[in-house]
């Protein structure tokens, strides 16, 4: 089931309602993180909570890094959180594993409120349920690649032989075969992040968190690593929460994207939803340089059939990306019908296609 959904999610993107036929893996409710000695006072006061970040800073000296964030992540989903530097992404993702202690709110993980977990339960969760990949890798310089990858297992008390076996498996999976005995400082940045990835995968967690894992890498290597993550997502079918400040990365990877600004959620949606229906000027500004034909699907540009339309042309699904429909639409001498489950939703003709493509130049 999961694999099928994944394949589907990579090919034709689904809209919001389609994600939630099932219970979410992670469900975040009204999450606040305030840095500062008076943090709990801030979240107790509706007045203070309504202030902007800057005003709050001026009034109380506290920094509200995450402000009332809500979202759900579905099983197997690749959920991307995107925002500019300082918007609170790292804080948010650290709150999810309580590397940073949230100030208020709820974080339900598989039906359990993580904020109520005691230290031992939290360790169990971290050991078995989720793991994280960091921007600056966080590798142990005095350990070989194999020992870095096996570190999480070692901590759980997995015997050496089994640890070696499992480490080898994930090392092979991320394409590091042959480097088991190297030390991190002998590897390039991209390779080091593969070690980080392998370490996160070694414990076979349910959810993987990524905090801008590729921001420190060169553009070419970054592209390789993005493809690598897409491949892994397909192969291991894990739920992933991915932080980035790079919109193209977000669009490339994300099933759904959450846009953050000053600690708040601005919009959550699939890539085509953000581009097709930006929630406000902030998002519109963000997505204005995106090549729309690569992101928008036919459902965003179709129009209702007019009486003079000939309705015996070719059919396409509403989830077809514009770029892939160009040839069929321009090649046909009649409007293309947009059809789902035999029901006619609208038509797309040359002018609609050209409207999108022309808008890009």
């Amino acid at each position: 089931m999961c694999a099928v959904r994944n394949k589907q999610s990579r090919n034709g993107r689904r809209n919001r309602s389609e994600w939630f036929g099932v219970d979410p893996v992670i469900s975040v409710g009204n999450l606040w993180k305030v840095f500062g000695s008076n943090a709990s006072q801030v979240v107790a006061s509706d007045e203070l909570k309504s202030l902007s970040r800057q005003e709050l800073m001026d009034r109380t000296g506290a920094v509200a890094a995450v402000r009332g964030v809500d979202f759900d992540v579905a099983p197997g989903e690749m959920f991307v959180v995107m925002g500019l530097s300082g918007s609170g992404k790292s804080t948010l993702v650290r709150c999810l594993t309580r590397l940073v202690e949230p100030t208020a709110g709820t974080i339900m993980f598989e039906g359990e409120n993580i904020l109520e977990a005691d230290a031992k339960r939290l360790r169990d969760l971290r050991r078995n349920k989720f793991s994280m990949v960091f921007q600056h890798f966080g590798l142990l310089p005095h350990r070989t690649v194999a020992d870095n990858v096996g570190y999480g297992l070692e901590i759980r008390g997995v015997p050496r032989a089994k640890r070696g076996e499992r480490s080898q498996e994930v090392i092979d999976l991320v394409g590091l075969t042959g480097y088991e005995k190297s030390y991190p400082d002998q590897l390039s940045g991209g390779m080091q992040q593969r070690v980080g990835l392998a370490r996160a995968l070694a414990g076979d967690p349910d959810v993987l968190f990524f905090d801008e894992p590729f921001s420190a890498l060169d553009p070419l290597i970054r592209r390789d690593m993005q493809s690598e993550v897409i491949r892994l997502h397909r192969e291991v079918g894990k739920t992933m929460v991915f932080i980035t400040h790079d919109l193209s990365e977000a669009l490339k990877l994300g099933d759904r994207i959450l846009i953050m600004r000053d600690g708040q959620v601005v919009q959550v949606g699939t890539g085509d939803e953000l581009v097709g229906a930006p929630a406000d000027d902030y998002v519109r500004d963000f997505v204005k340089d995106v090549p729309r034909s690569h992101v928008l699907t036919l459902k965003w540009i179709m129009r209702p059939p007019r009486p003079d339309d000939e309705l015996d042309g070719p059919e396409l699904s509403p989830e077809t990306v514009v770029r892939e429909a160009v040839r069929s639409v321009l090649g046909a001498d009649k409007p293309v019908k947009v059809v789902r489950d035999g029901e006619l939703l609208g038509v797309v003709a040359d002018e609609e296609i050209l409207g999108v493509v022309a808008g890009e130049v």
Binding site: L99, L122, R126
Partner: protein, 641 residues
């Protein structure tokens, strides 16, 4: 000639006031010379000194009845004594009813070689073996082993406390906040000063020597360990936590291994500090090479002092090389490890069983040649170089030392006190004035005012010389990478050497006078000052220097108008550190003719009735240190803002 309107240079008001104060002082000095100088003869005592003596006697008498002693100080002393005696029994002193130590020279050499091989590699192992054999050849095997025993005992105890404390300070901000000022204080206190009070509680001997060494040697271990733990990148720790590691797992598997290299560096510092202090602790009857040096200095036997000094240097070099090399990651092949282990085992067994392997053979010996050679060189120098050495000595003495000492020590005490308080006020405001007044009050109370003023004069002269050297060499090093590469290792080596070692050649050159003590202090303090200034000059932004050069400045102009002013912070730090280092040599200076406070302290160690006076002199040195430290820091703050 073109007429140019020359703006009249404004002399700052402060400078005028200072000038006025100094002028008034000079005039009053002429009038009141030798009045109210609070002079005290060498054998004269004040009631305070007698009172301290009586306290000392009372403490001595109650040592075996007072519960605080019975259950606290005596216990500590016993444990430490036992421990030191045990280590000495292993390698240094006849023990367990045997005429020789448990492990003889062959065994010790083998162990030194094997340990060096395991932690530092082949070359260093060879150096260690050669070094230890050389100690034997010098005819100083037993003295060297005594020094080594004391050093090792102190290091073991220092690390036993220091590393856990360091880890604690590394993990907890609060612990760090509490420990930092205590460590600062321990490290800025002149080293000899705690010797006297320690003997009050722990008697003269190895226990006091070890505790003094601990006080001196533990701070680097604590500090560097804390620093090492703190510098482990946060994201590494976070990654470990994110995988569900407990605090203990993160400490053992992440923090300590990542910090290992730096912690070993801390161990190195601790060992070097301990060696230096153990030799100095000869003043309170610690056995070993230091004692040989002290005795030879007291009889002006330069040859013997040189031989023993050389042994200290050899020991220092070996210990330093081994621990420095130990910071690197290395693994010994199995066969080499077990081979070395086997050979060492056999050597230890031989040295336990056979006399030839236990006592260093006295037939092969080069110590006497070294002694003779050093004596001959000294005599030659004293015969042939007096023109240069005496010329320099007389020049500095008559131009700097005599006038300054006359002014400070022959003015009435209230006049000097008034001047110092006024200057303090100008430099650092009310607070500085109050601190200085309090310090001066304590100086008067110690009954050693005039001695303190003489010592102050020497200290100031030494500091001036240190700063001159510091600026000249520091600027040179800061401007030339080549000079830096060449000079820095020499400075490093100089800092590693125990302070005693300098005394010998300097004494040979200048014989026992105030001047000799000053030069010894300069040699001791200059490396720190030079390094600080060199780093400060180097840190001046190259862009600024380039801009100045582009405007056509000469090198001299660039130095004077750009680099030195921009390195102000380094200059003031160098002056501050220079002063503290010079002061910590005051007591050593007392051994070579400095007189005044240094002599008072040294005499206090050796003669019972001068005990109180010596202790008071120690207090006076600390108080001088506190006052000068505060003043230079206040001046630094003023000048760098």
């Amino acid at each position: 000639m073109v007429a140019v309107a020359v703006p009249r240079r404004q002399i700052p008001r402060k400078a005028l006031i200072v000038g006025g104060i100094v002028l008034a002082w000079l005039v009053l000095w002429l009038v009141f010379r030798n009045v109210g100088t609070l002079a005290l003869d060498a054998s004269e005592l004040t009631p305070l000194h007698r009172w301290i003596n009586s306290v000392n006697d009372a403490v001595g008498a109650s040592r075996n009845s007072n519960p605080v002693f019975l259950y606290f100080f005596n216990e500590i002393r016993l444990v430490i004594d036992e421990f030191v005696t045990f280590v000495q029994a292993l390698i240094a002193q006849p023990s367990f009813g045997r005429p020789v130590p448990v492990i003889g020279w062959l065994g010790v050499v083998a162990i030194a070689g094997f340990v060096s091989l395991a932690v530092a590699g082949w070359r260093v192992a060879l150096l260690a073996v050669a070094g230890f054999v050389f100690l034997g050849l010098q005819g100083l095997w037993q003295e060297s082993m005594d020094t080594l025993s004391l050093t090792l005992a102190a290091v073991v105890i220092a690390l036993l406390f220091g590393i856990p404390l360091g880890i604690w300070a590394g993990l907890s901000d609060r612990a760090n906040r509490i420990m930092t000022p205590v460590l600062d204080f321990m490290q800025t206190m002149p080293t000899f000063v705690y010797l006297a009070p320690l003997t009050l509680f722990f008697l003269i001997g190895p226990a006091s020597a070890t505790i003094a060494t601990l006080i001196y040697a533990a701070p680097p271990a604590i500090r560097i360990t804390a620093h090492a733990i703190r510098s482990v990148p946060h994201n590494t720790v976070e990654a470990s936590e994110s995988l569900g590691a407990t605090r203990k797992q993160t400490l053992l598997k992440v923090l300590l291994p990542s910090a290992r290299k730096t912690i070993v560096l801390g161990v190195n510092q601790t060992i070097m500090a301990a060696l230096s202090m153990v030799t100095i602790a000869a003043l309170i009857d610690a056995p070993g090479l230091g004692k040989t040096v002290v005795k030879a200095l007291q009889t002006l036997d330069v040859g013997t002092a040189f031989n023993a000094g050389l042994a200290i240097v050899v020991l220092a070099i070996v210990l330093d090389r081994v621990t420095t090399a130990a910071t690197e990651r290395r693994s010994l092949p199995r066969w080499a490890f077990f081979g070395g282990f086997g050979v060492t085992g056999v050597a230890v067994y031989f040295s336990y069983t056979y006399l030839w392997a236990a006592e260093f053979p006295s037939e092969v010996e080069i110590g006497s040649s070294i002694r003779k050679g050093a004596t001959a060189v000294t005599e030659w120098v004293q015969d042939s170089l007096p023109v240069i050495t005496n010329g320099f000595k007389d020049f500095v003495t008559s131009v700097l030392i005599n006038p300054l000492q006359a002014l400070l020590a022959e003015s009435p005490w209230f006049l000097v006190a008034l001047v110092i308080v006024a200057l303090s006020f100008l430099i650092g405001g009310v607070r500085a004035a109050v601190v200085s007044a309090a310090c001066l009050g304590v100086l008067v109370a110690t009954g050693l005012w005039q001695d303190a003023m003489i010592t102050l004069a020497s200290t100031l002269v030494a500091t001036i010389l240190v700063m001159i050297l510091g600026v000249v060499v520091g600027v040179w090093m800061g401007r030339s990478r080549r000079a830096d590469r060449f000079i820095r290792p020499i400075l490093d080596a100089g800092q590693v050497m125990p302070a005693f070692v300098y005394l010998v050649p300097i004494l040979a050159l200048f014989s026992a006078t105030r001047f000799t003590a000053i030069i010894a202090a300069v040699v001791f303090a200059a490396p720190v000052a030079i390094k600080i200034i060199a780093d400060g000059i180097r840190a001046v932004s190259p862009a600024t220097v380039e801009a100045s050069t582009a405007l056509g400045s000469s090198s001299w102009q660039t130095i004077v108008k750009v680099q030195l002013p921009m390195a102000r912070r380094a200059l003031t730090l160098a002056a501050n550190q220079g002063l503290i280092y010079v002061l910590s040599m005051v007591v050593v200076g007392g051994l070579v003719g400095a007189g005044a406070l240094g002599y008072d302290v040294v005499a206090g160690f050796s003669q019972g009735q001068l005990y109180g006076k010596g202790l008071a002199a120690g207090v006076a040195i600390v108080v001088l240190g506190v006052m000068l430290d505060r003043l230079t820091q206040a001046a630094a703050k003023r000048w760098t803002n």
